[in-house]
Symmetry: C2
Subunit: 71 residues, 2 copies
DNA sequence: TCTAAAAGTCAAGTATATATTACTTAAAAT
DNA sequence: ATTTTAAGTAATATATACTTGACTTTTAGA
């Protein structure tokens, strides 16, 4: 999993902390942190919630990993 | 989780069985079946693979559940 | 500087995505 | 009718998403 810069950016654009965003979508702060750091692989349901809250599409926030790898 | 009609449709358009698709993306046939039936909530990584194989975007295959519910 | 909030990290637990095996049902051939 | 392939379903097992609690480090203000 690669870092999710797009997510971090969209969050900051909305002036939300990891904690804020976590509370809004109903997960722990550590989960948001891990996703931004690319430490895991969220479920599509959580991705959809994040997209809704941040006003972005799945493709914008979770589309093909910018760079290279993907197994 | 709602049924994923879009996935089934995209699969059939490519003339793939659940088994075929499962082998291509490297999961079990039951996993594909469960996703199409809406019985669970795949990870974004698997969603991306399915999109790549089926030539569709995340938004097309996994975007806002057509209908209503979503928690 | 000092302090506090935000971000990062770790360990141990719980929930659930996914695997495996195996059986049943449906559809489509002959 | 029978066979074959695809789809549906269920039980048990494993990997991993996600939680909770606690601690450290970074950032930004006062």
């Amino acid at each position: 999993m690669a870092k999710n810069l797009a997510l971090k950016l969209a969050r900051v654009q909305k002036d939300l902390t990891q904690k804020d965003l976590a509370e809004i979508v109903g997960v722990s702060r550590q989960t948001i942190n891990a996703i931004e750091k690319g430490e895991y692989n969220p479920t599509i349901k959580l991705c959809r919630k994040l997209c809704r809250v941040l006003g972005k599409s799945l493709d914008e926030l979770f589309g093909e990993d910018d760079e290279n790898e993907e197994d």
